[in-house]
């Protein structure tokens, strides 16, 4: 089984330790949700795997440490969708998504037909094909989120890291994006996403990692992780559990330790 093995990944920003050494094995084909309160170290973990911040420990993919790969090889292995994705120039969406094909192009090589096919496939996955000829600066929030996710998909990397990909999207687009991430994982990729929405994390993720204060508090399938005690300790909220159409529904119901609101 193809595995992303994280050994003692720790992140410090100056004197502050954002993430205590974490060791995890994440397998391909999974949609892994990193959940936890603000400042728990979720983004730091993601950025450490992506190589965007200095960190200790190693991340190894198919027995090869990521840092030892050449930069384009690493870029083909790992795609990253930042928390506040940017598009600085008003270019066409198709060309924006095509930027995701860069890791596959040697110096001076122009994109080929297979790159066009990958772009088209990525846009189709995100149901954004109709946006292809629109200018990126003229899109709505939801449209832009889909376009930028398509860019990350176009890399067709076996690892996709997404930092809060559904933040500030309406419910329709939140469901859509989570669906895209799930189907990408089902194609055999490892998708790791930082999420705040417990309900969506419970429904779509195949695996959850709950972080709090820079440490892994719980890790496993959603039912295993989203227990009352874990959520009260980790998030300091009392959850509400239910089932609908056979799927687990988890909602943060009230702040933990606030007995006065019990009805």
């Amino acid at each position: 089984m193809t595995t992303l093995a994280l050994d003692d990944i720790g992140v410090r920003y100056g004197a502050r330790t954002a993430l205590e050494p974490v060791s995890l094995d994440l397998r391909a084909g999974e949609l892994v949700g990193l959940i936890g309160p603000n400042g728990a170290g979720k983004s730091s973990l993601l950025k450490a795997i992506a190589g965007l911040v200095p960190h200790r420990g190693t991340a190894t993919w198919q027995s090869r440490p990521l840092v030892k790969m050449k930069r384009l090889e690493r870029a083909r292995t790992l795609a990253y969708l930042p928390q506040t994705p940017a598009a600085h120039w008003p270019i066409r969406v198709a060309e924006l998504v095509a930027l995701g094909r860069m890791p596959h192009l040697a110096f001076g090589q122009r994109p080929g037909d297979d790159d066009a096919a990958a772009v088209r496939w990525a846009l189709e996955q995100c149901e954004a094909l109709d946006l292809a000829d629109r200018r990126v600066d003229r899109l709505s929030g939801g449209e832009r989120a889909r376009a930028l996710l398509a860019r990350a998909l176009a890399v067709r990397a076996p690892i996709l890291l997404a930092d809060e990909p559904i933040q500030s999207l309406d419910p329709y687009h939140q469901l859509k994006i989570m669906g895209v991430l799930k189907s990408y994982a089902s194609l055999g990729a490892l998708v790791v996403a930082v999420l705040h929405d417990l309900a969506l994390a419970a429904r779509f993720c195949t695996r959850l990692v709950l972080l709090s204060h820079g440490r892994v508090v719980a890790e496993g399938r959603p039912e295993e992780v989203l227990t009352r005690s874990a959520l009260e300790d980790g998030y300091r909220v009392e959850p509400f559990f239910s089932r609908h159409e056979g799927e687990l529904v988890v909602l943060p119901w009230r702040q933990a330790g606030d007995a006065s609101k019990r009805g």
Binding site: L81, H88, D113, A116
Partner: protein
């Protein structure tokens, strides 16, 4: 790549493979116009001269023609091409790096730093006008200015910070140049420096082409190497890094290339501004907004613009020759103002 078979299956369900031009429009069209334009401008520059009674067309009488052509017209034309091209190229690269259309080597202090370096080398007797130390001095000054810019503004600075840092560096370079002028050997030397700094290509020789080229060419190559990285920066620094084009690498390539090429150019011609600002702007609607697509066309258009300005100078009524830097400023400054006014809303964000 994730399981190709699964992906291939998924793709086959969608429509047949599309032509790559859908994601990568052809970029030859600007060259079809720009290359002939530069050629025509260069020929005009070789054809037009200037005598005591004003413009002169042609090469004069037969005995002088060869000398006028090879020693006067050709060096001037070549330098206009090289210096103008360098300024256009570096302007496009800096705008791509800073993700903003208001950047150019002059605004960021590279040109005034280079001028200071050249002034110190030449006018204080460290080297003669024909020495290689002169463009090296220009490069040293340019590197110093850009290093200071990054020290002041930092790597992740907002545009406003960078522009303000550029203003500070221009002010500092101007102050140091004034200080240097104060220590000039005589008022006449000081006047000569002042006029030199206004920027001119008059009476340059092939020697100067030979001095500038060895530093310009590596500068251009560094910038070309950064082209893809500039495109990647469209997505922001983090995404660019994960696409294999770390922002630091792109940054050093562009800054280093600009320091070399602009440093050498200014050392030979004095300060010629606004070419790097105006040219990418005029071209963007035509070439598209990808920074990499702007590079080569900006070189050509910068060369054409500089040649045109230099020819205009020679066409003026009889009198002392106007300075090239003055003409480009007359064109560029109103353009810059118009840009700021048009984008004032975007600048605020």
């Amino acid at each position: 790549m994730i399981a190709d078979r699964k992906l291939a299956a998924a793709t086959a369900e969608s429509q047949p493979l599309l032509d790559r031009r859908w994601i990568d429009p052809p970029f030859a069209r600007p060259f079809v116009v720009l290359i002939p334009l530069v050629a025509i401008a260069a020929l005009a520059s070789i054809w037009v001269g200037r005598t005591s009674s004003g413009p002169a067309f042609g090469l004069g009488d037969a005995a002088l023609a060869r000398t006028i052509l090879l020693e006067i017209r050709v060096p001037r034309t070549l330098l206009a091409l090289l210096v103008g091209g360098t300024l256009g190229l570096c302007g496009a690269a800096l705008q791509g790096l800073l993700r903003n259309p208001l950047a150019e080597p002059g605004l960021l202090g590279a040109s005034s730093g280079a001028a200071l370096g050249a002034v110190i080398v030449f006018y204080f007797g460290i080297a003669a006008a024909d020495s290689l130390l002169l463009p090296l001095g220009g490069v040293a000054g340019s590197i110093g200015a850009l290093a200071l810019l990054y020290a002041l503004a930092g790597r992740r600075a907002a545009l406003v910070t960078i522009v303000l840092a550029g203003i500070a560096i221009n002010a500092l370079a101007a102050a140091l140049t004034s200080l240097a002028l104060n220590f000039a050997p005589s008022p006449y030397a000081a006047l000569e420096i002042l006029f030199w700094m206004l920027g001119s290509l008059a009476d340059r020789s092939l020697t100067h082409v030979g001095l500038a080229l060895p530093l310009m060419i590596p500068g251009w190559l560094l910038i070309v190497a950064a082209a893809r990285g500039l495109d990647a920066l469209t997505l922001g620094e983090e995404a660019a890094a994960t696409l294999g084009y770390a922002p630091a690498r792109t940054q050093w390539l562009v800054v280093g290339g600009t320091a070399l090429a602009v440093g050498a150019a200014v050392a030979v011609s004095g300060v010629i501004g606004f070419v790097g600002l105006v040219v990418p702007h005029l071209l963007r609607p035509w070439t598209g907004h990808h920074p990499s697509r702007l590079l080569a066309p900006s070189f050509l258009a910068g060369a054409a613009l500089t040649l045109a300005a230099d020819i205009a100078i020679r066409l003026m009524p009889p009198g002392p020759e106007l300075k090239l830097g003055v003409v480009t400023a007359l064109i560029g400054a109103p353009f810059f103002l118009h840009l700021i006014l048009r984008r004032s809303g975007e600048l605020a964000s």
